[in-house]
């Protein structure tokens, strides 16, 4: 029998669809996640001899631990002159001179060494001599008290809302499944003592915490599809039922017809298919222009020591709040990277700014000596000479080197800096324009500047003057508004 072209095409389409379906229902790769106060990393979990195994290099490498090439069938691991020895085929290891039970045999495969997943607790705690918290069911391990906690508060109303407040900024991915919203935390070391918290409410029913496959999830169940939004500080997540849309005349007629008694009538959820979307853009069809204000330092990072009673971290927050108000007064949306005394690494600051697609980034600093406001543009230390002051273009979806992610925006950053300096001069505020190889400015994918208020060593109290702060905030806001208009016009 000869096959027509149509038949062959149909068969090919059937095979392709079947493959896609098979792939979509396949189990996701098993993962194990390690959280430390500095970083989070995940590794693949392998099934060997009916047990879960991980690569020892994947587990210890990111912690700065080196593994020497094997001698015979023994592998030596070293950290700060502390040695550990793993021998292929043995179910124990020698760490710091003591024998540690691994609960399974050590395996060697393709020139790498595998250890049972459940031995990660004993290996890490013996080797690091730090507090290690192992969650075997969720395949998560927390080193040196790494952890992120949250509180929840239900605000009852006609449309109740659930407010989740986290101890550090978060960036969960949100999955909508009918009337459930699942917030998945892949990098954050989220911990909770609650498993299921029911609410006595008509619209929001419960909050569940779960850990699986190296991630943590919070699931909020409502009586209708829910909307999830992350606050400007990145630490507050608001969950609310979607407002009931006002029906148009045609829809009202349809609803009236549908409301007639009929055995076939059923309610279809608005979002029946699971959908994954980044939380910050929830509810927006197009990205909204906003300025990300970064009150530098915070938490244990006090920044410059300005006086006995004044740390840089407190001053930057006060000025950043004023700047936010000034921008909003000019009709420009603004968010604060932190609105409390919390720790945020430089990497987190850049990640949050880039993930939320900020239109502009302003870092607020304060320092001595000086009697002026210094406005810094990024100087890219690691960039080739041509991009030091030059500019390239960024294509959508293009990967950028982290160290020089700012290079495409240098010219726009300089436009912003010049506009801010001009506004400061208009208000008779002494100013100075400089460039500096600074983090996280170099990692920001948007026009970025740093504004540093300065004072003499013996007159740092001048920085606390609310009038000075307001004058600086107003100048910076006016400069931003001016620069934005310039850049829009250039487009």
């Amino acid at each position: 029998m000869r096959w027509s072209k149509e038949r062959a095409a149909l068969l090919a389409a059937f095979v392709l669809i079947s493959c896609a379906l098979l792939l979509s229902v396949a189990d996701p790769a098993k993962q194990f996640t390690v959280y430390t106060p500095q970083t989070t990393y995940s590794m693949e979990v392998l099934e060997r001899q009916g047990q879960m195994y991980i690569s020892l290099l994947d587990l210890l490498g990111p912690l700065g631990i080196t593994i020497a090439p094997p001698r015979g069938n023994t592998w030596t691991v070293e950290l700060n002159k502390v040695e550990a020895r793993f021998t292929e085929g043995k179910d124990t290891a020698k760490i710091r001179g003591s024998t540690v039970d691994l609960g399974g045999l050590v395996l060697a495969e393709n020139n790498r060494i595998l250890v049972p997943l459940n031995s990660s607790f004993s290996v890490l705690s013996s080797l690091l001599h730090k507090n290690v918290d192992f969650h075997p069911a969720g395949r998560r391990v927390f080193i040196d008290n790494a952890g992120l906690r949250f509180t929840s508060e239900l605000k009852k109303a006609e449309r109740s809302s659930l407010v989740l407040i986290f101890s550090q900024p978060v960036n969960p991915s949100v999955h909508q499944e009918g009337n459930k919203s699942r917030l998945v935390f892949r990098r954050e070391p989220l911990l909770s003592d609650l498993v299921n918290q029911p609410f006595d409410d008509k619209t929001i029913r419960s909050l569940n915490f779960s850990e699986e496959n190296g991630t943590a999830s919070l699931t909020v169940t409502g009586d209708a599809p829910l909307n999830v939004s992350v606050g400007s500080d990145g630490r507050t997540v608001l969950v609310q039922t979607l407002p009931t849309p006002t029906p148009t005349a045609a829809e009202a007629n349809k609803q009236a017809l549908a409301a007639q008694p009929s055995p076939e009538t059923s309610v279809t959820p608005q979002a029946s298919q699971p959908a994954e979307m980044p939380a910050p853009n929830q509810g927006h069809s197009a990205p909204v222009y906003f300025v990300m204000i970064d009150p530098s330092h915070g938490g244990s990072d006090r920044g410059a020591f300005l006086s006995d009673k004044l740390d840089e971290k407190d001053l930057t927050l006060a000025v950043a709040r004023k700047l936010k108000t000034e921008l909003q007064d000019r009709g420009i949306a603004a968010r604060l990277l932190r609105d409390a005394d919390i720790n945020l690494s430089l990497e987190q600051r850049a990640e949050l700014t880039n993930a939320q697609h900020a239109g502009m980034y302003i870092a607020v600093h304060a320092g001595v000596p000086g009697q002026e406001v210094r406005v810094y543009t990024p100087a890219l230390a690691g960039a080739p000479s041509s991009s030091f002051l030059g500019e390239s273009t960024v294509k959508s979806g293009q990967f950028l080197p982290w160290e020089t992610a700012q290079s495409a925006f240098l010219s726009q950053s300089q436009t912003v800096a010049q506009a801010v300096i001009a506004e400061l001069q208009k208000r008779d505020v002494r100013s100075l324009g400089l460039s500096a190889p600074m983090r996280p400015l170099n990692n920001i994918v948007a026009p970025a500047i740093a504004v540093e208020l300065s004072a003499d060593r013996f007159n740092t109290q001048d920085l606390l003057n609310p009038r000075t702060q307001s004058q600086v905030a107003a100048s910076v806001a006016a400069g931003i508004a001016h620069a934005r208009a310039q850049m829009e016009a250039a487009k």
């Binding site: 320092g367 100087a379 890219l380 160290e403 400089l434």
Partner: protein, 196 residues
């Protein structure tokens, strides 16, 4: 009338007190001298193996927010990486003096320098160099710029510089200026111009 033997006893007692007083004062002076030697965190004198040479230094002056060229005389060894180390230490010595044009924390020093491919220099500083460095964009930038410019003036073949602290990478010097990247010396010339 006080008996003679009693007068002699009091006299001897007073003499004893005087002698022990002088002894205690001497001991105290010795201890103070020892403490001062221990507290002097300036880099120790360069090795005597080299010849005395005049070198150029770009010195940071905090009060003027400026970098200015100065000359100084130091003992310079022949080997290039040692020359780089001594050049940098000469500048740090300037910063560790009291009064200092650009104060730096006690114990700031260069532990080692590693010359790679004749044009890249990795500078390993003591942990105190970063831990005790005054925090602030300007102050940190002036330190990095003056060190690299001083190095470049005396070893012009150095094209790239990287800082590590106590043998490991550090994100920033004291919370602001980048220490993760390699500095291109030609770019640092541009930064230095801003402080002229």
């Amino acid at each position: 009338m006080i008996p003679r033997h009693f007068q002699i006893a009091i006299g001897l007692l007073l003499l004893g007190i005087l002698v022990s007083g002088i002894f205690i004062i001497k001991i105290r002076h010795k201890e103070q001298a020892k403490t001062l030697v221990g507290a002097d965190e300036r880099p120790v004198a360069p090795p005597v193996g080299g010849k005395q040479e005049r070198i150029q230094m770009l010195v940071a002056y905090d009060e003027d927010r400026a970098l200015r060229w100065r000359e100084t005389t130091v003992f310079m060894p022949e080997e290039r990486s040692l020359r780089a180390k001594e050049t940098l230490r000469a500048l740090l010595t300037e910063y560790l003096q009291n009064p200092s044009p650009h104060p730096m924390g006690k114990g700031a020093d260069i532990k080692n320098v590693y010359l790679i491919n004749n044009n890249t220099l990795v500078i390993d500083t003591t942990s105190q160099f970063a831990d005790n460095h005054p925090s602030g964009i300007l102050s940190e930038e002036m330190t990095i710029t003056s060190l690299i410019e001083t190095l470049s003036a005396n070893l012009p073949e150095i094209a790239r510089v990287k800082f590590i602290v106590d043998g490991t990478d550090r994100e920033t010097l004291a919370g602001h200026v980048d220490l993760m990247s390699f500095y291109d010396v030609s770019q640092v010339h541009e930064l230095a111009k801003e402080f002229e």
